[in-house]
């Protein structure tokens, strides 16, 4: 693990993220992977706000924030300018799931279709955390948020997560991957691969949010790991549109993950909602089937 610790901190302490912030860790790991020769184009969002109140920036690399939905377009311009000036910095976008899967889709689609040499990192904490935990296109089925609250006639968010990796793979992206802060080295290696692959690459990194999901701050990595162990999050890579690698697991039932988070509390209290839990289990089962992540149990080894 110590290998990701090389170099100095390019994402500095003193930022204003909540204690136990998954996205803050993702930002640190991202810069471990990119090193100094990078320009970051950031979308408005939790990370942007907790890291850059004037004049206290946490970023020790060139960084630009313009608006919520345009970081891919801003990065397109930066990449074009660097090309024209003969410069070598890598251009990396970073945006949350709202900026990426919802409001920024137009700009991202354009940038990917045009084939700019940029890497887009989506830190996915599965809702609009900056503004107080509203539903996004990345909010999973059944999660209660402030705009998809559980209630008498609602069992939380009624739709599954949008499949952004596949959408961007369909744009012809040469490298698309998912990652999780539960596996820091894997994320770092994927970022290195993405920034060294010519053309537009995409990584969606799962970054649990203790505040938004409702768990203790020390549990952030445990939660990220459980998402993978239940099959609700799959770490995989797509090269030229084909899935080439997916992390295999001995799957646990989804409720091991769900029952630890306040956003799913309505599935267990006041009464257990077996049908809803079964629907979420079906999502995990479908993921497992699509990516072939199940490790076959050997009776003897158990």
């Amino acid at each position: 693990m110590a290998e990701v610790e090389k170099g100095c901190e390019l994402f500095s302490a003193g930022h204003r993220a909540c204690g136990g912030c998954g996205p803050a860790l993702a930002a640190r790991l991202l810069l471990k992977a990119t090193g100094e020769n990078v320009i970051i184009a950031a979308a408005t969002g939790c990370m942007e706000v907790f890291s850059t109140p004037y004049p206290e920036t946490a970023w020790a690399v060139p960084w630009i924030h313009s608006l919520f939905e345009n970081c891919a377009a801003v990065a397109s311009g930066i990449e074009a300018a660097l090309k024209r000036q003969g410069r070598t910095e890598k251009v990396v976008c970073i945006g949350g799931d709202g900026a990426t899967l919802d409001i920024g889709v137009l700009c991202i689609s354009g940038a990917f279709e045009r084939g700019h040499d940029i890497t887009y990192i989506c830190y996915d904490n599965e809702a609009y955390m900056n503004t107080g935990i509203q539903r996004s296109g990345a909010t999973p089925y059944g999660a209660s948020t402030t705009t998809s609250p559980a209630g008498k006639c609602s069992r939380g968010n009624p739709r599954p997560k949008k499949d952004m990796p596949r959408i961007l793979a369909a744009h012809g992206a040469p490298y698309v991957a998912t990652a999780s802060i539960a596996y820091p080295n894997d994320f770092v290696q994927k970022v290195e691969r993405a920034i060294n692959t010519p053309g537009p690459c995409y990584i969606q990194v799962h970054t649990p949010c203790c505040t938004g999901w409702g768990f203790e701050s020390g549990e952030t990595l445990n939660m990220a790991k459980l998402a993978i162990e239940t099959g609700l999050w799959v770490n995989y890579e797509m090269v030229d549109g084909e899935v080439v690698k997916a992390k295999k697991v001995m799957r646990k039932p989804v409720e091991d993950y769900l029952e630890k988070q306040k956003r799913y509390r309505h599935l267990f209290k006041p009464a257990r909602q077996d049908d809803e839990i079964a629907k979420i289990q079906a999502i995990a089962d479908a993921n497992a089937k699509r990516f072939g992540i199940d490790i076959k149990k050997k009776e003897s080894s158990e």
């Binding site: 693990m1 500095s12 136990g20 004037y54 206290e56 020390g218 952030t220």
Partner: protein, 86 residues
């Protein structure tokens, strides 16, 4: 301090914000049982766990928010969260 045109700033000033004050619990590192795996420093969202000359680790309490992730990931259970004395 003169404002920098365009709300632009050089790096470094985040360190002015000593987030250690946010802490309720603080991590106590036990170098005796430390296996020097470095997981605590890798996963710290603040980047405030430093390697000592001995190869063990210690938190920079000026910035540690006391989240407890390091305690959770330590394979040797050599980090313990204690209530902050204020």
């Amino acid at each position: 301090m003169a404002l920098r045109i365009g709300c632009v700033a050089p790096p470094g000033r985040a360190l002015d914000n000593k987030t250690g004050a946010w802490r309720v619990f603080k991590p106590v590192f036990d170098p005796e049982t430390c296996s020097k795996c470095g997981m605590c420093t890798t996963v710290c969202p603040e980047g405030c766990v430093r390697e000592t000359e001995e190869g063990t680790f210690e938190p920079d309490l000026d910035y540690c928010k006391g989240c407890g992730i390091c305690e959770e990931v330590c394979p040797k259970k050599s980090i313990r969260m204690e209530k902050e004395e204020k």
